[in-house]
Amino acid sequence: MSLLQAINVTKSYAGHKALANVSIDVDQQSIFGLLGPNGAGKTTLIRIINMILAKDSGEILLDGKKITASDTQFIGYLPEERGLYKKMKVGEQALYLAQLKGMPKQEAYTKLKEWFDKFDIGSWWHKKVEELSKGMQQKVQFIVTVVHQPKLLIFDEPFSGFDPINVNLLKEEILKLRADGATIIFSTHNMASVEELCDHIALINNSKVILSGEINEIINRFKANIFEVTYKSPKELLLDEDGLTVLSTEKTNGTFNSRIKITGSRSPNELLQAIMHQAEITTYQEVLPSINDIFIQEVNRAKHE
């Protein structure tokens, strides 16, 4: 069941196409990674979902219905370029932004206090924003994004500006939000966090979606059937069977590490059998491509097409 669908969304600015027939489908209670190089059109798509920009054609459906201006209160948006009123007090500002999202004042106050305590920043309530460090401001900003319990959360580069400890805190919170029922769209260049958090991804390049799907499925789609074997043996492994090719071997302290490609109808088990006769295997695992590799490979391929 999908919470948000973009169907053939097209948007062009004066003489420049930002989105060309872009479709994405975000499942309920999932984390959706929106990837792509700079200027690919991710921010434009996010702004269209947020009703900040108007699309030229196509449709955006929230819960199966066409999205309207009043739906923005069900969305929490943390833009990539973000800021707060510098001269305004933290608590006052958070209250204001929560009320703009349609929360009644009293409820906003209670919820904000909870979040401030959870992030251990209760003492900042009466401070002015300009007195906080950038990382501190980011925390406030995150709270403001999620406080109205939106069913759809959109984070654009949420981790930039955070130290590793806070990145972890944020990741945990994002996972918790999903567990509590929220659906999350997550745009980032940090590929490690994509692999860690996302259920689905879509790769946008040059205004088009060039790759999308469930993350494990994509990784499987792009795997090259390469296996990595670590073994103990007096001499280097030799394979002269059809469909099993040693790509590289490294030797460290009497331990060998080889990458072997399986082609044709050969199975990983056959490779294992072939090695077992020659050496004592310590580890044996399939080499899977990283999202980073897939990203670079696909974007480059699109460029040459």
Binding site: A14, R47, N50, M51, I52, L53, A69, T72, Q73, I75, Y77, P79, E81, R82, G83, L84, Y85, K86, K87, M88, Y96, L97, Q99, L100, K101, G102, K105, Q141, V144
Partner: protein, 440 residues
């Protein structure tokens, strides 16, 4: 709660709570009350010290002509100039008036020596007395009795009456009206610019701090723009009301406090002595004139109409200009870029202030009429015309055109604003803005 109301509330409260607003609110009326009261008070106070003037008259024409005044006493000496200086100035600390004999036998030069700057009333009195004496003597020499001239002098007291549409005669006082017209025109210009600049600054701040994207993911850009404009307009009105109330309060305090209640009598005395030395001390009388002016304004000359029209033309003019300022703030990235757009927008406003003289001389001319119809110039021009009385149909035309004007500018500005606030790092040009306007 309606979201636009929330924005209005924030814009209003965040400004009203600022120290600068509170200081301005108190300082403005204080200065206004002070400019009205202080000249009279200072003059009164400086007159308190008595001055003595030694007169060394080589011509002998002015013996006993200088009469002791309230704060000036005269005595005559017959030494030479150097001795006179030594005695009168250095020893006694008085002033020395030296009237040398000239070859033409008509003394038109005199020298006044003192250790400190002599007061204006001293020089004015001396000048008046000498002038009168010489004139009298010249008249006598031509065989005319000065008394004849004196009796021929007439003072014309011209009172102007204006008959309004209801046929009711009303005493009008042009000086008061001119003063009021200039004051109202300048005030509305000042208010539109001051609060318009706040809109510009506020929009730029939201854009450069990047909070704007967070906010327009909750509300429409138009709501944000209008919320800001209306919020700041309310700040302007608050300031205006506080100024009126506080000026009245401060005037009251000054009158009863500084002059211990005896203020009016004091002024009356001053007035008489002022008359005695004719117009020459006009400059010193400024304080008095202003005081009378204010008294007459407060006496109820169109006071209600003035305030009502000020509010209307401030709101109309402000909405018109503020939306343009908001568009500029949204379009530009840096302070430096605002200049090229601010200039053409503010020209009509500055122009209408430059036309002050023309409008006040002929408030009913067709130029004045047209300027008070064009929405860009009407706020200032109409405020200048209203004290003189404007036909009702012209007021309505001007008001309707102003309302239509700000609807159009707001509509255009919203288009520029909406696109501009999300544009960063791009130097905008007029062609670029034209493209935004054409966007649907």
């Amino acid at each position: 709660m309606n979201k636009t109301l929330l924005i209005i509330k924030r814009e209003y409260l965040s400004r009203v709570k600022k120290k600068s607003f509170i200081i301005m609110t108190i300082l403005g009326p204080l200065l206004m009350a002070a400019t009205i009261i202080l000249p009279a008070f200072l003059a009164d106070w400086s007159e308190a010290t008595k001055k003595r003037v030694a007169v060394l008259d080589e011509t002998g024409w002015f013996l006993e002509k200088f009469k002791d005044q309230e704060n000036i006493t005269f005595y005559y000496i017959y030494d030479d100039l150097e001795t006179g200086k030594e005695n009168a100035i250095h020893e006694k600390g008085d002033l020395l008036l030296y009237i040398p004999r000239t070859q033409l036998n008509i003394p038109v030069n005199a020298q006044l020596y003192s250790t400190a700057q002599p007061g204006l009333n001293v020089t004015a009195y001396i000048r008046t007395v000498m002038k009168k004496e010489i004139e009298d003597r010249k008249l006598l020499a031509s065989g005319i009795d000065p008394e004849v001239i004196k009796s021929a002098k007439v003072n014309i007291n011209l009172t102007t009456y204006r008959i309004d549409e209801g046929g009711i005669e009303k005493k009008s006082n042009t000086e008061v009206e001119v003063g009021l017209a200039i004051f109202a025109g300048i005030m509305i210009y000042f208010f539109i610019f001051m609060f318009g600049a706040q809109v510009l600054k506020g929009v730029m701040e939201e854009k450069s701090s990047r909070i704007v994207e967070v906010i327009i993911s909750s509300v429409k850009p138009f709501q944000l723009m209008m919320g800001k404009i209306v919020g700041i307009a309310l700040v302007g009105l608050t300031q205006f009301f506080l100024w009126i109330v506080l000026t009245a309060v401060f005037l009251g305090i000054f009158q009863s406090g500084l002059f211990g209640g005896g203020f009016p009598e004091n002024i009356m005395q001053w007035d008489q002595s002022g008359q005695a030395i004719e117009q020459s001390i006009q400059a010193e009388n400024m304080g008095l004139d202003k005081l009378e002016l204010v008294k007459e304004i407060i006496d109820g000359i169109n006071f209600r109409i003035m305030i009502f029209s000020f509010i209307f033309y401030f709101l109309g003019g402000f909405l018109l200009y503020a939306s343009l300022f908001a568009a500029i703030g949204g379009a530009v990235d840096q302070d430096a870029d605002t200049q090229q757009f601010m200039l053409p927008v503010s020209i009509p406003l500055v122009f209408s202030v430059m036309m002050t003289g023309v409008i006040i001389n002929q408030p009913d001319s067709s130029l004045s009429m047209w300027l008070s119809f064009i929405p860009f110039t009407s706020p200032v021009t109409m405020m200048m015309r209203i004290p003189f009385g404007v036909p009702l149909w012209q007021v309505w035309t001007s008001a309707v055109l102003l309302v239509m004007g700000f609807i159009v500018t707001t509509w255009l500005a919203a288009k520029i604003y909406r696109t501009g606030i999300l544009m960063y790092g791009k130097k905008v040009s007029y062609t670029e803005i034209w493209k935004w306007l054409k966007n649907k």
